[in-house]
């Protein structure tokens, strides 16, 4: 009875919050002063055609560093709690993978990985970026693991890629303090021609490292979860 009362009280509270949010919601005709600054000066200050990327990587680069750190913490906690036992017990007979998934995996895994790399290298030109590209690379690993459940991702390679790209990301940020306006400033490298792939300063470099880091972290979580499937409790 008391439990039900609490549930209803919480639901009523949420409803009150959302109803006020809904009533206050309306189309705004003008941009806020900060958004106006980004929209008018973003292209000349950062040099990236994709304004979302210039905000995520340069204006709000510190937040991106925080997000990458959170993902790193999640990956390490998952691998800490799912520590694999050395002795693998005998594997129960399992169903064979269907022909469709096997063929599709052979065909699609390289293409999906290439798409992920394309998305994070072109992050400053087209929609997408490091997080999206990394997640797409991890979905390629999902397909690989579905087609071949015994496949093991090499942990040494993943750990090396992850830590090297993380250190490089922070180093580029520190270089920004020394050579340009501040932490994670993209004017470490010349801005280049607007709209070319080697432009917008350090953004393609930073996004490539973020993409590699996110991709290896998510693949690491997946391979840890897959590794403990065979264990008997």
């Amino acid at each position: 009875m008391i439990k039900n009362f609490f549930i209803i009280a919480i639901l009523a509270g949420l409803a009150a919050i959302f109803v006020t949010l809904f009533w206050d919601f309306g189309d705004s005709e003008t941009l806020t002063p900060l958004a106006t600054h980004y929209a008018t000066n973003g292209a000349t200050e950062v040099g990236a055609p994709n304004l979302v990327t210039s905000i995520v990587v340069t204006y709000r680069g510190f937040d991106t560093l925080g997000e990458v750190t959170i993902l790193f913490l999640v990956a390490s906690i998952v691998s800490f709690f799912l520590k694999r036992e050395k002795v693998q017990k005998e594997i129960a007979p399992k169903r064979e993978t269907s022909e469709i998934i096997l063929t599709a995996a052979k065909l699609l895994v390289p293409i999906v990985m290439l798409l992920g790399v394309y998305v994070f290298i072109n992050g400053h030109l087209t929609p997408g970026g490091g997080f999206q590209g990394g997640a797409i690379i991890a979905t390629a690993f999902v397909l690989l693991l579905m087609a071949n459940p015994d496949f093991e991702i090499n942990h040494k390679i993943i750990a090396t890629v992850e830590s090297v790209s993380g250190i490089a990301f922070v180093l580029i940020g520190v270089l920004g303090i020394l050579l340009a306006g501040g932490f994670l400033d993209n004017k470490v490298l010349p801005l280049g021609t607007f709209g070319k792939i080697f432009s917008a300063g350090a953004i393609p470099l930073i996004y490539s490292f973020v993409g590699l880091k996110v991709g290896s972290e998510l693949s690491n979580i997946l391979s840890n979860l897959q590794g403990v499937q065979k264990e008997e409790m």
Binding site: G129, Q132, I136, A138
Partner: protein, 79 residues
């Protein structure tokens, strides 16, 4: 045209969300949450947010679904 697509997508989203809550089989519920994410990603695309749409499609409907399945399998063995 856009309005019709948005209405269809939101109806599917609501139905799938309710399915995810009330269905007895957990596997069906996990698939239903994946479908909700997929429809949400198309919705983001229609609302001119392709960056968010990509994240939602890759993480929401791809990775989190497979992670749920791994965990479900593990829990079943533990019982």
């Amino acid at each position: 045209m856009n309005l019709i697509i948005i209405i269809v997508l939101s109806v599917v989203m609501v139905v799938m969300a309710i399915t995810a809550i009330i269905h007895k089989k957990l596997a069906v519920a996990v698939i239903a949450t994946g479908v909700v994410s997929l429809m949400a990603s198309v919705m983001y695309l229609l609302m001119a947010a392709p960056d968010v749409a990509m994240t939602e499609a890759a993480i929401g409907s791809g990775l989190s679904t497979i992670i749920f399945f791994y965990v479900l399998n593990k829990i079943r063995k533990a019982k």
